[in-house]
């Protein structure tokens, strides 16, 4: 026993020396700045570009290193509250930004952004609610995305249908879908081919003029016949028309469930004629060869719009080198970084100026993509609206409630009316809870309630309202487009 013990100890000691030899301590002549992001091969290229950009512009030198923690928000929180998180933090949305800000992890970057040139004017205007909170900036986009419909033209042609239009209303979409599934699925076998993988209910609701929150973001208004209409329409498309797969259909396909699942493989194999995703789908689609592709907008109920989102970067409150980390955000607005996003196909570059370059519009290696890229940039520019975030409820809670009740509706636990009502009730209960726990927020809430009452009164009388009364980014755009704003 003794011999065994000391033999193992000796082997492990030797292994430790070997490990120390292959893992030397990190030494750098420059300060080390950590970037908390996802484990992604493109990050190495971006870091190399950043170091070169610093050198070329004679900016302060630093060593940027990765901390690949995006998968688990717990790591960011544990490190953040312990005071040792990375200097630059990837945040997946404006909802994430609000959460991280609320627990004190994100630094207000408004002034340095203006001084160094990475303020909101350097990105798409629809990004404003995503990167700012109550007029203060906390992030700058790493990329910008919207989910459009990728079309496999070979599948559509196989069904004897013409290419789908860029924009289509709900009825046209349904008609197309019914004709497609009837043409490609043999009548006597289980259906394995569908028109599209999924659609997003918030975007469909917005196309009927209904957002999750009211104009002043003080209440959830999903208890509305328009929400009921969308829920029932989706169910019809899944269960009656069979143009979307049911959960069972998806489960019979999917043998793995990673990031976005095997949607693109099923698209490539012809099981889905179309799928909903951002321009970043190109990263994988390019590996499948030269597909015959087109891009359309999601169907709309009369008000075409798309939801624009972002993966952004902010600066950690307790960063040891905030003044250096700001340079990384400045780099995100630079030509070097934006052109890397253009080449890589990782959604849209943060700066819209680079969506007008030849490299973006007509990538020389991918002629089959010509004419598709601008559909994403134009959609974000012309129709893109950020998410609506109520200051009184966390975005994650909102989405959890919406998803739960929609799942309950799908499983026939609720009727569409009940799902709509319960969603609104649950979210509004959260709002009231926040106000009870944070009485300091009540004054602003009451002010907004008074404005909301005035908006409702004016709308009931058919009168226009001033833009400054409206806090919800969707209704700011919607009211403007409908001519409901005071001149």
């Amino acid at each position: 026993m003794r011999r065994l013990f000391f033999t193992i100890l000796a082997i492990l000691t030797a292994a430790s020396i070997f490990t120390l030899w292959i893992n030397p301590e990190v030494h750098s002549p420059y300060p080390i700045v950590y970037w908390v992001t996802d484990p992604n091969p493109a990050r190495d290229e971006q870091i190399a570009l950043f170091h070169q950009w610093l050198e070329d512009n004679d900016y302060p030198r630093m060593t940027l290193r990765l901390d690949t923690a995006n998968h688990r928000i717990e790591k960011k929180i544990i490190q953040g509250v312990s005071g040792v998180a990375g200097d630059v933090m990837d945040v997946p949305s404006g909802g994430g930004m609000r959460y991280f800000r609320s627990i004190g992890l994100l630094r207000d970057i408004t002034e340095p952004a203006l001084q160094m040139g990475f303020d909101p004017s350097q990105t798409f205007s629809s990004m404003l609610p995503e990167i700012t909170y109550q007029g203060r900036q906390y992030m700058f986009p790493c990329n910008v995305y919207t989910h459009l419909v990728w079309v496999n033209l070979d599948s559509i042609e196989e069904a004897g249908l013409p290419p789908p239009p860029l924009q289509w209303d709900l009825d046209t979409f349904e008609e197309y879908g019914k004709r497609y599934v009837a043409a490609v699925n043999p009548p006597d076998r289980r259906q394995t081919r569908f028109f599209i993988n999924t659609l997003q209910t918030p975007q469909l609701r917005r196309s009927l003029g209904l957002d999750t929150f009211n104009e002043t973001l003080t209440a959830c208004i999903l208890d509305d016949p328009r929400n009921v209409k969308i829920l029932e329409r989706i169910r019809k498309w899944r269960e009656v028309d069979r143009i979307l797969p049911t959960a069972e259909d998806e489960a019979s396909f999917a043998t793995e469930a990673g990031y976005e699942g095997p949607v693109m493989q099923l698209f490539n194999a012809g099981n889905y004629a179309m799928f909903l995703m951002g321009r970043y789908a190109l990263i994988q689609l390019r590996e499948f060869g030269n597909l015959n592709l087109s891009v359309s907008h999601p169907p709309h109920g009369g008000y075409p719009n798309v939801t624009a989102g972002t993966r952004s970067a902010g600066i950690y409150t307790a960063s040891e080198h905030p003044e250096l980390a700001y340079y990384f955000l400045k780099f995100l607005a630079s030509e070097e970084y934006n052109m890397q996003i253009v080449r890589d196909g990782d959604a849209l570059p943060p700066n819209p100026a680079f969506t007008r370059t030849e490299a973006f519009l007509r990538p020389p290696d991918y002629p089959n993509e010509w004419g598709l890229h601008e559909r994403f940039s134009e959609a974000v520019r012309d129709l893109g609206i950020g998410h609506s975030y109520s200051p009184y409820v966390l975005f994650a809670q909102v989405m959890r409630n919406i998803n739960n009740t929609e799942a309950g509706f799908t499983a026939r636990v609720f009727t569409a009316e009940e799902a709509a009502r319960i969603t609104a009730e649950r979210i509004n209960r959260e709002i009231q809870r926040t106000l009870r726990e944070h009485p300091e927020m009540r004054e602003d809430y009451e002010r907004r309630l008074a404005i909301q009452a005035k908006i409702d009164e004016r709308r009931a009388a058919g009168l226009p309202v001033p833009l400054e009364w409206i806090e919800n980014p969707f209704y700011q755009r919607y009211y403007a487009n409908m001519g409901w704003l005071e001149q």
């Binding site: 290193r65 990765l66 990031y259 095997p262 994988q284």
Partner: protein, 292 residues
């Protein structure tokens, strides 16, 4: 010639015996068939993993399990995309150190709780066991804070030291040591052996099955450990396998074919360990009433 034939059995009894034998044989066949079928359900995920590791990306996740062509180069690509060998080494290194230290410290504690008499021993033992009732995530922030103060964040000792002490291991070995007759230590002490000698030369050799069981449990759980290494480690070159495998699932999409190739290679030590030491594993499950 007279014959002394044994008394012939009643034809009825013989037929009954044969029928019983036949029934038992058929039952055994049936049972084994059922067990083979059930074991097949355990093998299927591994089969899917292996076949997927040989597919091109475009075929991953499709209903057809068989690849249209077998792409063995996926295995080579794993080493090109990530520092897989380094992650592999780090995992084995950390799991080996933790196993060594945890078995040793648990054996010492178990000896104390099972063979030594001291005031409040059982109370302390139950208090120690109580730590098993706390969900790991609750201890995460305090443990992390301690590691910061000790300067062990982003270091291998930061992964090894906190995992070197285990209430479960102590419990498992204590239960085992309680089955060893106390007359053995008494005899040794009469012969002049010290407590340390009793532990080292009498109890430890006799507790060998328990030590092997704990070795297996500890090695497997630390080899597969994901969250603590993820939180503790910042430098990519110090990642262990479960953390390193996340490289195949990023915002660039999931490279499931490479992920499965990497996982196939990473489960090999576990499969070898299980095949070699499965009887100890089963014994441990029976003894500790745990699933491992």
């Amino acid at each position: 010639m007279s014959t002394t034939d044994p008394k012939p059995r009643a034809p009825h009894a013989e037929e009954m015996a044969q029928r019983t034998l036949r029934r038992r044989t058929w039952r055994a066949y049936g049972l084994h068939t059922l067990m083979v079928l059930l074991s097949f359900t355990m093998v299927l995920p591994f089969l899917w993993m292996f076949l997927t590791s040989l597919k091109p990306l475009a075929e991953v996740g499709l209903p057809d399990w068989m690849p249209s062509r077998f792409i063995w180069s996926n295995y080579v690509q794993v080493f090109e995309v990530i520092p897989f060998a380094r992650f592999y080494w780090n995992s084995i290194f950390v799991a080996s150190w933790v196993t060594f230290l945890q078995v040793f410290t648990s054996a010492l504690a178990a000896f104390s709780f099972s063979r030594l008499q001291w005031p409040g021993r059982d109370k302390v033992f139950f208090l120690y066991l109580g730590t098993m009732m706390l969900p790991g995530i609750i201890m995460m922030v305090p443990n992390y804070q301690i590691m910061i103060h000790l300067g062990l964040v982003d270091t291998m000792p930061g992964l090894i030291i906190p995992a070197s002490f285990s209430a479960f291991g102590t419990f498992l070995l204590r239960q085992f040591m309680l089955t060893i007759p106390s007359s053995l230590d008494e005899a040794a002490e009469i012969d002049g052996a010290s407590k340390w000698r009793v532990f080292w030369d009498i109890i430890l050799p006799l507790a060998r099955p328990g030590l092997i069981t704990l070795t297996i449990f500890t090695f497997i759980s630390n080899y597969n450990s994901m969250f603590w290494p993820l939180v503790m480690m910042r430098s990519v070159e110090k990642y262990t396998l479960p953390v390193g495998l996340l490289f195949f699932d990023s915002t660039r999409g999931q490279s499931t074919h490479l992920l499965m190739a990497a996982v196939t290679m990473s489960v090999l030590p576990m499969i070898v360990l299980f095949v070699l030491l499965q009887k100890y594993l089963v014994k441990g499950i029976q003894m500790g009433g745990v699933k491992g």
